[in-house]
Amino acid sequence: MKKKYALFPGCLMPTEQYAYELSIRETLPLLDVELVDVEGFSCCGEPMKSVNQLLTVYLSARNLAIAEKHHLDVFAPCAMCHLALSECQHILEENPAMKERINGMLAAEGLNYTVKRQVVHTVDLLYDQVGIEKIKEHVKKPLNGLKIAAHYGCHILRPSEIGRPDDSENPQKIEAILKALGAEPVDYPQKLDCCGAPLLANLPESALTKTGQKLQAIQEQGIQGMVDVCPWCHKMFDSRQTKAGETVAAKLDVPVLYLTQLLGLAMGISGEKLGLELNLSPVEKLQLGDVK
């Protein structure tokens, strides 16, 4: 059965992390997921949580209300957006006074939040909605035992009390997807380590050190590559890998791809369509299809 979602792009993916968006738009429709582009979304509010949490709740509620107006469930490919939207739902469902207050503000734009709609992320969309069997059916070029490390990103794993796409301490859904693609997921001690991105705003050097430490550990363990599922994590691990290497005095050369890019390659889609030319890490080392 076809699933239909409003694609909630957030800020980072549609303004610079184009490879994620390209690979999502290439792969998911082939797996019977219909993505609807909706006008008028704004930031989810998560980047402003340290500044004003009410603003975070307001912005998330605003976006949820827009999806509600179109009678659509929401697909948020960014881990930060997914947390903000889920947490906002949790707050508004638990706290009727807050819901009334937020709706009072939303009236300025003629919006209203009433019901909790489904909010999915790439990981649970692929694993729980599309399903492993269906993914396997679409694999045309299996990845021949490629050793890949999965990076989940903190915000899709915690806090579990509000419901997250995978287990907070032992997530396995990306690994299951990697196996379906013919790759060999590798367990590694640093799997749950943060990418560092939340510190980019005020402590960029420390943020990059965090990134460098994780990549260095992966490199030393002889893992062939890494996949991630968040534009913030990817900005750190791929776009800024060279700089991250400088902070730990190491020459890093770990191929980093979005999970949806690797999925697309295994489905036989060309690297160009999946935005592989935008990855700045040495993805050519994986020797996949037409990737140069």
Binding site: P9, C11, L12, P14, T15, E16, Y18, L22, D37, V38, E39, G40, F41, S42, C43, P47, M48, K49, S50, V51, N52, Q53, L54, L55, Y58, L59, R101, G104, M105, A108, E109, G110, C154, H155, L157, R158, P159, S160, S168, E169, L192, D193, C194, G196, P198, L199, L200, A201, N202, L203, P204, S206, T209, K210, G275, E277, L278, N279, L280, K292
Partner: protein, 175 residues
């Protein structure tokens, strides 16, 4: 509307400051009492090794009522918001949430906001997103933008005046 309205000081913010103060007092009086200083939060803290953040000490200081000292300290801005402390606390204290409340208080009481937060907030106010479309560089050093990759137009607030009016209500706290 200026950024000042949202982040600080002026009279309109007094309600927000009162609300934050109530929240911190509640955290101090009720929540921090549950903490028995097992330091499980600190042992898993992503910022601990790198930046010496010690969440269990933050809770201990809050319990002793040192709110102003915490609000004025740079250490509250070292949290990576990985949420492990909240997940793992056996007493459900959630130091990360205490840190968010302290940072919000630092902003609302007029202390300077560090780093790029001001710029991101200004961008949200003017166009709805933390940044506008950026040029990106390919592996072969070509520069590209969103439309050149065949991606559809950016989703952002259509009527910015109305969008700002909604946010203004947070600044004015007249809801």
């Amino acid at each position: 509307m200026s950024i000042i309205d949202l982040t600080s000081m002026g009279e309109p913010q007094s309600d927000l400051r009162k609300e934050l103060n109530d929240r911190l007092t509640k955290l101090q009086d009720e929540i921090s009492d549950y903490c028995f200083q097992c330091a499980k939060c600190t042992s898993g803290c992503e910022s601990h090794k790198l930046l010496e953040l010690e969440p269990h000490k933050i809770v201990a200081l809050l319990k002793r009522g040192l709110i102003n000292e915490l609000v004025n300290s740079d250490v509250i801005w070292t949290c990576m918001t990985c949420l492990k402390c909240r997940e793992r606390c056996p007493q459900r204290v959630a130091p990360v949430e205490i840190l968010f409340a302290l940072k919000n208080m630092a902003v609302a009481s007029g202390k300077q906001i560090p780093g790029k937060y001001t710029g991101m907030l200004q961008s949200i106010l003017s166009m709805g997103l933390i940044q506008d479309i950026q040029q990106t560089t390919t592996r072969t050093n070509k520069t590209l933008k969103r439309d050149e990759l065949g991606l559809p137009p950016l989703s952002k607030p259509i009527d910015v005046v109305k969008f700002q009016a909604g946010i203004m209500k947070i600044a004015m706290e007249k809801v």
